[in-house]
């Protein structure tokens, strides 16, 4: 064959004219391990990524533009759809921002119910992160277990509001309706079950030698870099920065609850590597169980929804409110001008901000690690593109 003659004649010895060529590899937008429609163009120098350029926007649905058109209370269902793995948290972030803008007080029972559903949704979201991360790296079994347990939460939510993914349950002034009969008991049962199976998951994946080789010391983000690049949530805490909005600027009743903020310590490799980000999420599942139990213990009686005017208008003010979503800080910046719809509705999606670093993080990494790095950021493209 042409070009092989030199090789054949000389063997490997004495061959001096071996050249490598840079190559472009297109990853996505239809690639199962990008967790949605993310496209990354890789410039590969052999097995090493010389440069990477992410492209987003494939499922941009103009959420902010819609927010300028619809009345405030009609925008809630749209919030379900940015990060569809944690819709309760999105509802909550939006409603808290509107309540801050319009000065609405939420009854105490509703505040506790909101914390319960938000934390349950955080567990469900972290279970998906755990399962799909294993799947990305070739471990299929954890995925099946994680989805089995997530199903339990989805069933609870289904009884609560009829929906399994897009709940529209948290609403301006409180929650749509009270907890159904048996919900508290079902949630307690789930917490007991989850605590047991958590140990199994930990045994299955956390210290698995193959998993460790794929994640420890890979995709390292130093604490300084994490802050400079606008990381929030488990990604920021994975780099060792103990910053959690539930503690830093507590909302609802988080200041009355007892929970820890897990941070990455570099136990398996280097602080801020893929493994640290993974393990912070794992530990957060346990903290969320703790929070849910405390809320169920002290759940007060009373109303679950404040009286909110049917013709709610956004006053001429502007507010920003951030909440701790499973993926980081979800912020709503709402500018009002006295009309029913907001004048400007800006949504700060944590996945969008956490993904900004990707191009830099992939530079110098092996191609095989690209999937491990993207998966460790745990993004939902619905939220990146909004």
């Amino acid at each position: 064959m042409e070009g092989f003659e030199t090789f054949d004649a000389a063997g490997t010895e004495g061959v001096t004219d071996v050249r490598t060529q840079e190559m472009f590899i297109n990853m996505g937008p239809q690639h199962p391990s990008t967790h949605g429609v993310l496209r990354v163009l890789l410039k590969a120098d052999g097995e090493v990524i010389a440069a990477a350029r992410p492209y987003v926007g494939y499922i941009h649905r103009c959420a902010e533009k819609i927010g300028e058109v619809l009345p405030l209370e009609q925008f809630t269902p749209y919030t379900d759809r940015y990060d569809y793995l944690s819709a309760m948290n999105n509802n909550l972030g939006y409603c808290l921002a509107v309540e801050k803008l319009c000065g609405i007080e939420v009854p105490e029972r509703a505040q506790y119910i909101r914390v319960i559903v938000a934390e349950l949704n955080r567990i469900a979201s972290h279970l998906v992160a755990f399962g799909t991360y294993g799947l990305d790296l070739g471990a299929f079994t954890p995925f099946c277990y994680a989805f089995r347990d997530r199903e339990w939460i989805l069933s609870l939510f289904e009884r609560l509001c009829g929906a399994r993914l897009t709940y529209n349950y948290v609403c301006i002034g409180g929650v749509r309706h009270d907890l159904p009969e048996g919900f508290a008991e079902g949630t307690r049962n789930f917490c007991d079950h989850m605590e047991k199976t958590w140990k199994e998951y930990d045994t299955l994946l956390t210290r698995n030698p193959i998993f460790l080789q794929r994640t420890a010391g890979i995709g390292v983000v130093s604490p300084g870099e994490a802050r400079a690049w606008g990381f929030t949530g488990p990604c920021l805490r994975g780099s060792g920065v103990a910053y959690d909005l539930r503690r830093a600027r507590p909302y609802l009743v988080y200041d009355k609850l007892d929970f820890e903020i897990p941070t990455g310590k570099g136990e398996a490799g280097v602080q801020g590597d893929c493994w640290d980000r993974y393990y912070v999420r794992m530990l957060e599942i346990l903290e969320s169980i703790k929070i849910v139990r405390q809320c169920l213990d002290v759940l007060p009686g009373g109303e679950v929804r404040a009286k909110v005017s049917k013709a709610l208008k956004a006053p001429e003010k502007e507010v920003y409110l951030g909440v701790e979503n499973p993926r980081g800080e979800l912020g709503h910046y709402i500018v009002g001008d006295g009309k029913k719809a907001a004048y400007r509705m800006r949504v700060r999606g944590p996945s969008f901000a956490n993904l900004t670093i990707l191009g830099k993080l992939l530079e110098g990494a092996m191609i095989a690690d690209a999937v491990a790095i993207i998966g460790s950021l745990d993004i939902v493209l619905g939220e990146v593109d909004r």
Binding site: L101, A228, G230, T232, Y243, T356, I357, K360
Partner: protein, 163 residues
């Protein structure tokens, strides 16, 4: 404990008398208005100064105000937080709507890279010195900036009717 807003505002006004144009406190969350030329140095100061340490740029965004004087304005809004002190701060830069030019802050906060691209995409603010100012959410050949108040919906895109 995070520093109170009036203290921060006074500190900035004393330190940057040219760049800082004043504070607005009567419209919800208070903010500090900064001139376009001064935004980079103010952000750098806020990031490094002990007791403030606004090390996390949460987002950069914009608001279109077409009804203001002289053809209207576009406000570029910077939301900051501190991971060590726990405070939050809002800064604003006002630009003429006809020619919205604003220096990039990616030198201080590299995380602004995509936020500035989105602000360019949605509102047409040109961030001078930005290393990669392209559209981010809309397709590259999209016409217009959708979050401008006078944006007109396209008739069609790529042969598909958009009405």
């Amino acid at each position: 404990m995070a520093m109170e807003f009036p203290v921060i505002a006074k500190l900035l006004e004393g330190r940057f008398p040219q760049a800082v144009k004043g504070a607005v406190t009567d419209k919800g969350d208070p903010w500090i208005e900064v001139s376009p030329g001064g935004i980079v140095e103010v952000l750098a100061f806020l990031k490094e100064e002990g007791g403030l340490e606004f090390d996390l740029l949460l987002m950069v965004t914009g608001v279109d105000r077409p009804d203001g004087e002289g053809g209207g304005e576009i406000e570029v809004v910077y939301h900051l937080a501190s991971t060590t002190q726990g405070g939050e701060l809002v800064l604003k830069v006002r630009l003429p709507r006809e020619k919205p030019l604003c220096p990039t802050v990616t030198g201080v906060h590299p995380g602004a890279l995509w936020h500035e691209r989105e602000t360019y995409d949605m509102l047409g603010v040109e961030f001078t010195g930005h290393p990669d100012l392209r559209r981010i959410l809309c397709p590259e050949d999209w016409v217009g900036h959708p979050l401008r108040k006078d944006y007109e919906y396209p008739e069609e895109y790529g042969g598909i009717s958009a009405k």
